[in-house]
Amino acid sequence: MTATGVVLDVSALIIYARNDLQALPVDELLRVLREDTGGTVVIPSLSHADALLVLDGDKEATDRLWSLSDAFGVVPPSPDVQVVVDLIVSESEVSAGMAHAMVLAAQRDWHLATYAAGTLERVGFDPRLVLDLNQIFHD
């Protein structure tokens, strides 16, 4: 058996923080990890920072995001990871937050929970690692 974990990307953090109906898959994801699998929840610090920028001015959403990160912590990029993040950003034109989430998920072969699966597909991220919350919500 392999240990499992899930990395939350910028889109997942934003939708979770806004707490509307679309956040249902993130709520359930956290619940399944807590109750069933005991898997790790990873919040990349660059994704967290990007999400806070997008949520700027929305106090309720920002508070909810901080509660989440207080519960699970945030993972800062190591110098090596930062180098790869910078390369991905320059070559693929994705945000640093998205690149950080991709690197952390790829390093451990963990799922990357996202509402932006199209972006991951465009940059060649292995679809087996993508947990497409948008698709899960609409199916």
Binding site: T2, L24, P25, L29, A105, Q107, D126, L131, I136
Partner: protein
């Protein structure tokens, strides 16, 4: 209004008698709640399936090809 199929305390029965509008509103919400719960269960099923695959090692090495593109640059 149909009587509830449960035995109510005198206090609860009196509330039902006095507030049929509240009871009707609650009854209207039942299908909505059931639909949301059903959706939650379906989502949990999908997630459990994906995690089961991950635990069995099916994802092993999946991230390496992506990282290799940026290694040594």
């Amino acid at each position: 209004m149909r009587r509830p199929d449960i035995e109510l305390t005198d206090e609860a029965a009196a509330f039902v008698e006095q507030h049929p509008d509240v009871i009707a509103r609650l009854a209207e919400q039942v299908p909505e709640t059931q639909a949301a719960e059903s959706r939650r269960q379906r989502i949990r099923g999908v997630l459990r399936e994906r995690f089961s695959a991950a635990r069995s090692g099916e994802l092993q090495g999946a991230g390496q090809a992506f990282l290799a593109r940026y290694a040594g640059q």
